[in-house]
């Protein structure tokens, strides 16, 4: 039989061992990506593998920064992802308000539709979207991509924000209405300001979805000046030789925005995820 003290020590040892094994599993590939982005291309597969290869430099980063075509991929990704976040939030806040504060015929059915819509496979929508975007003259445009991504972000955002609004007491907006404000005023002046944590986390999540999307970005754009980062990275592949260090440098640069968002908004992020998906 172990004493309490021995047990506590054992728990500590096991926890730390687990943490370190887990950390190497999670972080080693990312570390390798960063280290490879600094290596000279001929030394990428040098044996034995080293984290810091001789002749490491920023040259891969510099060649990306000095290439307007590659910079354009980043600009495109920012334009699309930011637009998707803002537009999704506006539309979703309005819808979530209706779900959270009103009773109306068809509410239950609409709720089920919005949950189910999340499960519609992108590949199913891809074929008709291709035809639809060509017909609407939105093929190979920002607008086309932004509209497309809203289909994927909106249901999630509505569900999350409805959950968030439901945690806020109705008295808040009721009180504003008694003071003679319309429900719209109560929403924008009372509910939205106190929902900032939830709104921020949903905004980050929608940004991530748009920033990361690959299938539609591949199919609904044609020219390099409309391509986003994921497709841009792929274009670096497969031409004649693999510029591994440049691909890794672009991957690092492509990961930084999401990483920074996560680091700065961790608390919101994790709090927001639970507001919508975990009911206590």
């Amino acid at each position: 039989m172990l004493t309490k003290k021995q047990r506590a020590v054992l728990t500590r040892i096991f926890t730390w061992a687990g943490l370190l094994i887990g950390a190497s599993f999670a972080a080693f590939p990312v570390l390798w990506m960063v280290s490879s982005s600094f290596k000279p291309n001929p030394r990428i597969f040098a044996t034995p593998p080293k984290l810091i290869e001789e002749g490491s430099s920023f040259s891969a980063y510099l060649s990306i920064i000095h290439d307007p075509e590659k910079i354009r991929f980043f600009i495109n990704s920012y334009i699309v992802a930011l637009s998707v976040s803002v537009l999704t939030l506006i539309v979703a806040i309005l819808a979530a308000f209706a779900f959270s504060r009103f009773e109306f015929p068809g509410k239950r059915i609409l709720n089920v539709v919005i949950i189910s819509v999340q499960a519609v496979p992108p590949i199913t929508l891809l074929i008709p979207f291709f035809g639809l975007m060509v017909a609407l003259k939105l093929y190979n445009t920002y607008h086309g991509l932004i509209l497309t991504y809203m289909v994927f972000t909106l249901p999630y955002a509505i569900i999350m924000l409805t959950g968030y609004f439901n945690t806020l007491p109705r008295e808040l907006d009721e009180a504003a209405k008694v003071d003679g404000t319309t429900s719209f005023g109560a929403l924008w002046r009372v509910l939205v300001p106190i929902s900032v944590p939830g709104i921020v986390s949903v905004g980050i999540y929608t940004f991530m979805i748009a920033w990361n999307e690959y299938l539609f970005a591949l199919t609904l754009t044609r020219t390099n000046d409309m391509r986003t980062v994921p497709i841009g990275i792929q274009l670096l592949m497969g031409q004649h030789s693999y510029e591994w260090n440049e691909m890794m440098a672009m991957s690092v640069l492509g990961s930084i925005p999401v990483l920074l968002l996560f680091i700065f908004f961790q608390r919101y992020f994790i709090g927001g995820m639970t507001a919508g998906s975990v009911k206590n």
Binding site: P29, P48, A95, V113, S116, T124, F262
Partner: protein, 313 residues
């Protein structure tokens, strides 16, 4: 939308009931006004494409021909009798089951460690950030990164053959015996953090007095895990698992950018099979029926998900 109730004071009942009907109508109109943008978008970009793809699936020569004609279920019969479709379906099932089970186990294990009471807040935050890293990378980036790591001359082979575990220069993504396992491994790495974060949130929501009571009753840590932690987490785990099954079964980019469904169709999934029919062979009619089959399967999963959500309310 305010209704001036001050005019009604002291009026007779008739006026009151009439105004209440108007108020009811107005009251119903308000939520719909808020929902208009959402309903417009979903009609235009969700309902319309689904109707279109179903329509294509019953035609011959959809999109490509000037005058496609109705062929009933022919396309469905073609797809359902195609051996490649069977392969894709079987691969997808393996891919989903193994990925989701691993996501669940790793997510739960990591969340339990991050919730351990013996750690300081700083330690928890630090490791949580490390553990979440794979989730912050784009699928396209994950695919390229693992191609570098699993390259025959890459670091995985160097480390594993250095330890004497494998022959050197293994072609992880090009060997028919290894490719599916390699892709599942990549997907496990890419997807566990979502489970981890959700379970972590769930763990923090479990009332501490449950554990205290169990400790007083003399339950050890293993017993506490089985009889408190898991039952408390069950609703989260069930709905996460369903969501993960839906997402994993639809995974495209990861496979497309690592193996493209090869070698010898060993990693062909329903998504890559459908994509190739449409955008490599331009067989849009067959591709559409395959896409509808995938939709039906996903909707069945979604039905279970909605049921699980209902059970939680």
């Amino acid at each position: 939308m305010t209704v001036r109730t001050d005019l009604l004071k002291g009026n007779d009942g008739f006026m009151k009931s009439r105004s209440s009907i108007i108020q009811r109508i107005k009251g119903t109109a308000v939520p719909y006004a808020y929902l208009t943008p959402t309903l417009t978008l979903l009609t235009m970009l969700m309902a319309t494409p689904i109707i279109m793809v179903v329509w294509y699936s019953f035609q011959s020569g959809a999109i490509t021909d000037k005058n496609p004609h109705f062929v009933g279920f022919d396309n469905y019969i073609d797809v359902l009798t195609d051996p490649k479709f069977h392969t894709a379906l079987a691969n997808t099932v393996w891919f989903v089951v193994l990925s989701v089970v691993a996501h669940m186990i790793i997510g739960l294990a990591f969340a339990m460690m991050l919730n351990a009471s013996c750690l300081s807040t700083f330690t928890k935050t630090f490791f949580r950030t490390l553990f979440v890293l794979p989730w912050l990378l784009t699928v396209a980036i994950i695919a390229i990164l693992w191609r570098l790591i699993l390259n025959p001359n890459g670091v995985a082979n160097a480390l594993l053959s250095g330890l004497g575990l494998i022959e050197p220069h293994k072609e992880w993504l090009a060997d028919p015996h290894l490719a599916l396992a390699a892709i599942i491994l990549i997907n496990i790495w890419a997807g566990y953090p979502f489970f981890m974060i959700s379970i972590l949130a769930g763990l923090q929501g479990i009332p501490a007095d449950l554990y205290e009571a169990a400790e007083v009753d003399g339950a050890g840590p293993i017993r506490r895990f089985w009889s408190i932690t898991l039952p408390q987490l069950k609703p989260i785990i069930v709905s996460m698992a369903l969501l993960d099954i839906i997402w994993t079964s639809q995974q495209f980019a990861l496979i497309w950018m690592t193996t493209g469904g090869g070698p010898l169709n060993k990693t062909e999934m329903l998504s890559t099979y459908t994509y190739k029919l449409a955008f490599a062979k331009y067989a849009f009619s067959s591709a559409s029926s395959s896409a509808v089959i995938v939709l039906i399967l996903s909707m069945l999963l979604a039905f279970f998900y909605v049921q699980s959500q209902r059970a939680r309310d």
